[in-house]
Symmetry: C2
């Protein structure tokens, strides 16, 4: 645990207050229309002052998307670990999708950035939404809820599951934004169908 001087504390507080304003504005106008000058205005700074806390606009968006990732993780962690692996997997998926639907701007921001960052730096933190699913898949394999196709490992299954979950979220945010249908049901069916294919 790194102890912090009062100065560092203030610094982080200012940082966070800037991020909060940015998050609010993104929720209102989408992340593509975020204006640093507007952030500065509402956070009571001059535009230049922001650069004391973030080295660029991209940097602000990155910081924000990191926090969003954490929110997502918290939500997914609420899925009881006690569930049978099979159920747990579908639950994780549904939580992910629900988050995407109810916070579309956040979700889109998160995804439009993971494109660039990941490549260079960190190898996806060990406690990430993705790894949560991976663990559930491993458990399902161990308990024989899932039978691996030949040549496949837990990683490939997780990748596929992730694609479905992610794909559904995207679809519902874009092409199907104002379609009327019982998506909760359909999405569940999609997940279950895939899992059924693994038996």
């Amino acid at each position: 645990m790194t102890t912090q001087s009062p100065r560092q504390k203030r610094h982080e507080k200012s940082q966070q207050s800037i991020l909060d304003v940015a998050a609010k504005l993104i929720g209102e106008h989408g992340y593509e229309n975020l204006s640093l000058r507007e952030v500065a205005r509402q956070a009571d700074y001059s535009p230049a002052a922001l650069y004391e806390y973030f080295k660029s606009k991209e940097d602000i968006l990155f910081a924000l998307s990191e926090q969003i990732g954490l929110q997502m993780l918290e939500l997914m962690n609420e899925a009881p670990a006690s569930l049978p692996p099979y159920e747990r997997i579908t639950q994780l998926g549904q939580i992910y999708i629900r988050f995407a639907i109810s916070h579309p701007e956040k979700f889109q921001l998160m995804n439009s950035l993971s494109s660039r960052r990941r490549s260079l730096a960190e190898p996806i933190s060990a406690t990430s939404p993705y790894n949560l699913v991976l663990d559930a898949v491993k458990a399902a394999i161990k308990s024989s809820d899932i039978k691996l196709p030949r040549g496949a490992h837990a990683e490939e299954i997780t990748y596929s599951l992730w694609a479905i979950i992610h794909g559904i979220s995207m679809l519902r945010l874009t092409y199907l934004r104002d379609f009327q249908a019982d998506f909760e049901k359909i999405d569940l069916m999609a997940l279950k169908t895939f899992l059924k294919g693994l038996q």
Copy 2:
């Protein structure tokens, strides 16, 4: 067939030449960094002149994304209709994914716009990539390659399939951009596993 005056013809040619430059620039710098002024420069127009052909930057992007959709459709139409429905579905998926991988900028543009347009206007053209899959699914149902879960119709299956295909494309473009793996194989497995769940 609407006949066109020489004027209209010239007009459309100019339009297309502008789109071509825009497409080229997008391929080089991504669609988020497209500058109208740069387009104008390379297309030998003043910035203002572009507004004779498109009413806004968004409009240019829309026009472009429409053309990209057509390219995609052409590619997918090359999948022989004679294939058994089951095979045909996986082929369509693979073509879609391959297109996404080999033209990431185009693919991303196409998707970031379908978010807004569709909702208000056209009910997804009858000859669209999506409908190609829908037809293949219907054929698969008729030939009993696919058995519908109770309560499900061809639409729901197609929606799920589309989510997988779309999700895989997205994943590979973002999170997994420089991972090394035999994705062609894994993707095929994902599709087949889902289809297997429908038997």
